[in-house]
């Protein structure tokens, strides 16, 4: 009887839990900081004053915020350490220095080869895994649409000047469109040098913000300066944005 009882416990865990990897009792843990830097042409972005060039137009950035989620560190042996999903939602806000340092706690000390993270909120996991605890943070950073229960993954605004417009507003608010369109993206960055964790660790991750306009797709503000719930352009913005990241690690 006792054995059967145990069997059920085991079945229960195996059947329902996906992250039941046994941790060796000797495993040590540490803290890792992801240091996000938003740059254009190798320089840190300066909001509201610096003028940048996109093809035939110039622009200033007023707001630059995005959601980082579902962080996974990939070890040398291919093993993945997924940061607890409920704790794994962050807003990187260019206005707020502290928001650019994402501190991950209790990371197993071992050698890592790569990092993977999400841009936005994974649609298939919206209601689950504690994501709703992210609502107040998203709300404070204007990363929620008022008429929809969805999140704004990328909030990018400013002014631009082109052949026909002078100091005109632009706004990209990109998220998923209910069940109709999933704009969540995952980014995997391989480390150039194996990350051997010790007691204090930092991984620098850079977003080349100009790639939002120019990467897989070429976007012109003069052509369209307001991209929000737009099934044609919003996936292009997210595709470009997901290609903007690199790491110096």
């Amino acid at each position: 009887m006792k054995k059967w009882w145990l069997l059920f416990v085991v079945l229960g865990f195996v059947g329902c839990s996906e992250d039941s990897d046994d941790q060796a009792s000797s495993q040590e843990f540490t803290e890792v900081t992801l240091q996000f830097q938003n740059q254009i042409e190798g320089e840190n972005v300066v909001l509201n004053s610096e003028t940048y060039v996109n093809s035939e137009e110039t622009y200033e950035i007023e707001t630059l915020r995005y959601i980082i989620s579902n962080i996974v560190l990939i070890a040398e042996n291919g093993e993945e350490f997924a940061y607890p999903q409920a704790e794994s939602y962050f807003v990187v806000n260019e206005e707020n220095e502290a928001s650019k340092s994402i501190i991950l706690e209790n990371i197993p000390i071992q050698n890592y080869e790569a990092i993977r993270f999400g841009l936005g909120v994974d649609q298939s996991n919206y209601p689950l895994n504690g994501v709703n605890n992210f609502v107040p943070t998203a709300e404070e950073n204007n990363m929620l649409w008022s008429w929809s229960a969805g999140y704004i993954f990328l909030h990018f605004e400013g002014n631009y000047t082109s052949a026909t417009e002078n100091d005109h507003l632009f706004a990209y608010h990109i998220g998923s469109h209910g069940q109709a369109l999933d704009n969540y993206k995952e980014v995997t960055l391989d480390f150039q040098n194996t990350l051997a964790l010790d007691s204090s660790n930092s991984i620098a991750i850079t977003s080349d913000v100009s790639k939002i306009f120019e990467a897989e797709f070429s976007l012109s503000l003069e052509e369209i300066d307001d991209i929000q719930v737009d099934p044609e352009y919003s996936p292009q913005v997210m595709a470009n944005f997901s290609q903007s990241f690199s790491t110096q690690q």
Binding site: G15, Q123, E139, S148, Q179, A180, V229
Partner: protein, 349 residues
């Protein structure tokens, strides 16, 4: 020992199997308490009970939150303000929703019932999950106009809530996730499946009158394409030919998808308890079912994306005689579920 064994077994089944939820009257026995009776002719459950199983304490907490004005910026407008149980959780005298400080919304409060079978929520599908839906009315300026940070502060400072959260959830925290889970635990229990129509399907001795029976035949011919199945909705969004109200110029589902092809489409509502959920349509423009049927018979206009189902004959819409309308209404009245409307479990007081 034997008891523990059974408890584990049932936990295991509940947490890993979703098929069992629908078989006959089999109860959904959650971690310790609440079960839901679902007739076997109902569709598959869409709600993820594994992630948020309703418990007695969670339900009670959800109910308190649902009826608490603290969730709004003026401390008055609760969820239950617009969703009144007697009217299957709609509001009769309000054509569109009313919010804080007398603000007016643009849409009519939808009934709350059978949500565990739905794929998307709100008139345009702007909420993909029941757990996220309350974010919309709570934060909307013209509804409850409150931020979650403020609400959590208020709940944490409250004399009762911290204890109630501690009892309802394993981690005991007063946070957004638990708050929305508790509200869902209250909402998922709202299954309306005991109308006269149901009693007939269940062979409980009820019978349609001749008029109701004739109405059912007409309904199946003329309405059931969209109002399909036992929930009386195929859950699609469609344009049903309402003249555009310039006051709102509500574009419907295209606001969610950005697709021109979704302009003026709204979710086909369930017709359960339809007799008492007036006013009708997304903007509450019709007060009676007779007006609704008049619209389908002779009131439609051709606007962008008018559903092809209404354009099959030379005449727009669904032609109905006065006698046919009366019979259809008689049938629709058999969908009223008094046991649900009077169910003490959901009552504010």
């Amino acid at each position: 020992m034997r008891l523990s064994f059974f408890l584990l077994l049932s936990l295991f089944l509940v947490s890993c199997s979703e098929e069992d939820v629908n078989s006959g009257y089999e109860a959904i026995v959650e971690n310790d308490t609440l079960s839901i009776e679902i007739p076997d002719y109902f569709p598959e459950v869409t709600y993820n009970f594994e992630a948020n199983p309703p418990t007695e304490k969670g339900f009670e907490l959800g109910k308190k939150l649902f009826y608490d004005g603290k969730l709004s910026s003026d401390g008055v407008v609760s969820c239950g303000f617009c969703h009144i149980q007697d009217f299957s959780f709609t509001h009769h005298t309000h054509i569109v929703s009313h919010g804080v400080n007398g603000a007016l919304g643009t849409r009519n409060a939808q009934p709350l019932q059978n949500m565990i079978f739905m794929n998307e929520f709100t008139w345009d599908g702007a909420a993909e999950s029941l757990d996220a839906q309350p974010i919309i009315p709570i934060t909307a300026e013209v509804e409850m106009n409150e931020s979650f940070s403020n609400i959590i502060d208020k709940l944490q400072a409250d004399e009762e809530y911290p204890q109630l959260f501690a009892e309802a959830f394993e981690n005991g925290e007063v946070n957004t996730d638990n708050m929305l889970k508790a509200i869902s635990q209250f909402l998922v229990m709202m299954v309306s499946a005991d109308s006269k129509y149901d009693k007939i399907l269940k062979n409980e001795g009820s019978q349609f009158t001749a008029e109701e029976e004739a109405g059912k035949v007409l309904f199946d011919q003329k309405c059931a394409t969209c109002h399909a199945g036992v929930l009386f909705t195929d859950q699609s969004c469609r344009n049903n030919g309402l003249p555009i109200d310039p006051e709102y110029d509500d574009e419907g589902r295209s606001r969610v998808t950005g697709l021109q092809a979704d302009k003026y489409k709204f979710k086909v509502p369930s017709l359960r308890n339809i007799q008492i959920t007036y006013p009708y349509m997304h903007d509450g423009r019709f007060q009676t079912l007779a007006q609704v049927l008049d619209h389908y018979d002779s009131g439609m206009v051709v606007t962008e994306n008018l559903d092809p189902v209404f354009q099959q004959n030379e005449n727009l819409g669904i032609s109905l005689t006065e006698d046919e309308k009366q019979k259809i209404i008689a049938f629709l009245e058999t969908l009223t579920d008094d046991n649900f409307l009077l169910d003490d479990r959901f009552a504010e007081f």
